[in-house]
């Protein structure tokens, strides 16, 4: 395969799975500028690593999630700790949508973002994969956990969310 063909194949795969880059960049950024930088950094790392991608070892989406999350988490760790876990807000709803405001914000999404904003980078990765409807097997492959561990963690996150929603409803009543 020539260099040009190699690049075309990469661009085509990147285009096919571009949502992964946008979603990860949106969840791990603090501003719209951050999000664009992170999306560029993720795609640059994907391109750097593409020569080593072996379809026999992992699906392209699994490989892409690993790289995107690794880049995003590493970048988040470079921020000052005080800035790192800022609650996600309306701005993040826009950023995941690609920079344009979402006309009618779904209350559930707002609540979801408020919840995700409290999570550390690793749990944020876990919930992203869950929301993206990845199987427990794929989540385990991406994160490097056992399937049982993934199931336990998802169940804990669900429980935590349930408790928070109940507390919020009680406070609102």
């Amino acid at each position: 395969m020539t260099g040009r063909q190699h690049q075309q194949r990469f661009e085509s795969l990147l285009h096919e799975h571009r949502r992964i880059v946008f979603k990860v960049a949106g969840l791990y950024s603090r501003s719209a500028a951050d999000r664009d930088d992170l999306a560029q950094e993720i795609s640059a790392q994907l391109w750097r690593s593409f020569g080593g991608y072996d379809p026999a070892r992992a699906k392209f989406s699994t490989w892409m999630y690993r790289i995107a999350l690794n880049v995003a988490i590493s970048q988040a760790r470079r921020w000052p700790e005080a800035d790192r876990f800022e609650p996600l807000d309306a701005h993040h709803l826009e950023t995941v949508g690609g920079g344009e405001p979402i006309a009618e914000q779904d209350e559930r999404l707002t609540a979801l973002y408020a919840f995700i904003g409290q999570l550390d980078p690793l749990n944020r990765a876990l919930i992203l994969l869950y929301l993206e409807d990845r199987s427990y097997t794929e989540m385990a492959e991406i994160l490097g956990l056992s399937e049982t561990n993934v199931a336990t963690k998802i169940s804990r996150i669900k429980q935590k969310l349930r408790e928070q929603m109940t507390a919020a409803e009680t406070a609102g009543a």
Partner: protein, 221 residues
């Protein structure tokens, strides 16, 4: 509200991606991607050049102390520099090995994050271990080079002056560490200086330890 309901909301979310998509395509048009690849190659090449420099340093000091093995102080200084050079080679080779394990960034998230934290910790410790001795080496290395080049023992006539400078060096190390602790946590404009302060004050080590703990908790919790 349950997480499953949120999953449905997430799936229905409108994705207006044109802006970001154009951004990614622009990167290819501007050849930024090729630049990113060559930057990584240069960084690995830089590490290889560093190892070559350390090897040259060790060969030089080995030839120096072998040549002056009958003069006790030159033998001791030569041997100390030899040990320092070997530590430099070990540090560079280990960093190259640790870099090669993260090079592709495609390992499972927990594995790669742990490797990154280990690399950061190793870099920090080795930079300090190899950097602080320069409070002494700035004088010893030039004198060794001068002695080797001129064939005259430059240490013999200046023992008192050299010892005095060694004392200043020891005080310099203590002062650097004290100053770093005083400056820790304060905003510093220069990123380079900020990193140095964080390394010397133990902030980096504490941060990396917290990251490793966080990974372990996530893995086993």
């Amino acid at each position: 509200m349950e997480l499953d309901e949120m999953k449905q909301a997430w799936a229905r979310m409108d994705l207006r991606q044109e802006g970001m998509e154009a951004l990614l395509r622009q990167d290819f048009r501007d050849r930024r991607m090729d630049k990113a690849r060559s930057t990584m190659r240069w960084s690995l090449l830089g590490q290889a050049v560093e190892i070559a420099c350390w090897l040259a340093f060790v060969v030089f000091v080995a030839s120096f102390w072998v040549e002056h093995r009958h003069v006790m102080h030159l033998l001791v200084i030569g041997l100390l520099l030899h040990i320092y050079g070997i530590a430099g080679i070990w540090s560079s080779v280990t960093q190259l090995f640790l870099l090669s394990r993260i090079y592709l960034f495609d390992a499972p998230v927990l594995v790669l994050q742990r490797r990154l934290a280990q690399l950061r910790r190793f870099r920090m410790v080795s930079t300090l271990a190899l950097g602080l001795p320069w409070w002494f080496l700035w004088l010893l290395v030039p004198l060794v080079v001068l002695t080797w080049w001129s064939g005259v023992d430059r240490f013999a006539g200046a023992a008192g002056w050299i010892w005095a400078n060694m004392g200043v060096g020891a005080a310099g190390i203590a002062l650097s560490l004290w100053l770093a602790r005083r400056l820790a946590g304060r905003p510093i404009r220069s990123p380079w200086l900020q990193r140095m302060v964080d390394d010397m004050s133990g902030c980096t080590l504490a941060r990396v330890s917290r990251q490793l703990d966080e990974i372990a908790r996530f893995e086993h919790g």
